[in-house]
Amino acid sequence: MTKKKPPRRQIASPPSHPHQPGEGRCLDILRQLSAYIDDELAEDICAELRRHVGACPNCEEFIASLRDTVTLCRHHHPPPLSSQDRARLRRNILQAWKPEGPR
């Protein structure tokens, strides 16, 4: 099923309160971002974080890219096991097991 992804909000203006390395609450915020995007934060912390993110385009963009990362992981599927490999693996396992088997 293909679902149309809503367009991300455009960031036109420069950040009003950019984070400075080593300053502010970068680490505090960074620590909570997965819990935030997984909806696991307590309501008050979530509201505080949302307020901050709303005022900080940098954090908003960071969170968007973290969400994109999780979304890609969730939709990334490996190639299926071929029927030949399925049969070969079964044979190999049974052969390897035989010496200590019950018979």
């Binding site: 149309k4 992804k5 390395p21 940098n58 960071f62 979304t71 939709h75 097991w97």
Partner: protein, 204 residues
Amino acid sequence: MPVTPFAKTPEAFDKLYREHVDLVYRYAYRLCGDMESANDLVQETFLNAFRGMNAFRGEAQVSTWLYTIASRAAMRLRRKRKGAPERELSLEEFIPTSDGEFRLQIPIEGLTPEQALENKELREALDQAINKLPKKYRIALVLRDMEGLSAKESAGIMGLSERAVKSRLHRARLFVRRELSGTGVTQEHSRSDAKGWRPRRSGS
């Protein structure tokens, strides 16, 4: 659903194998990143499962039991050819040091995840990013974000607390995000630009 303990017979093995080989293979492939290593891990997992069949009491789902065996086997298997050395990922290393780093983007704007992953380069970049993760973080990411298990289930499989799983998952996501973000890629990149996107070659 409770599971009847297995008898250690070829018939029981066949049933176990038939019903779960696709799940184990998918998990193994996601952990290993290539077919050959995934096949090795599938063999190791089923062999260990078969040897331990008598000890399985059906208290957990069979799939959870197999995930646990596969995860342990993956931790034991030596890395072949590629992958990152085992190391701790600290949160500090993911703090952006400039506005540019904050705003690095994964260029999938306007695309569904399925469409984005049709891009071979993006798919390969994602594979590489996951492969570069130290194993213990990779297992957390694969169980939670790829296999779709809960934190509680993942914690049981990994033998950790839920809190520890969440911490590893978070660091793993930050790592993959950083690896996937192309240098200089901005919001202005269009859909067609995204298709021609080249992954950043990180020195980390």
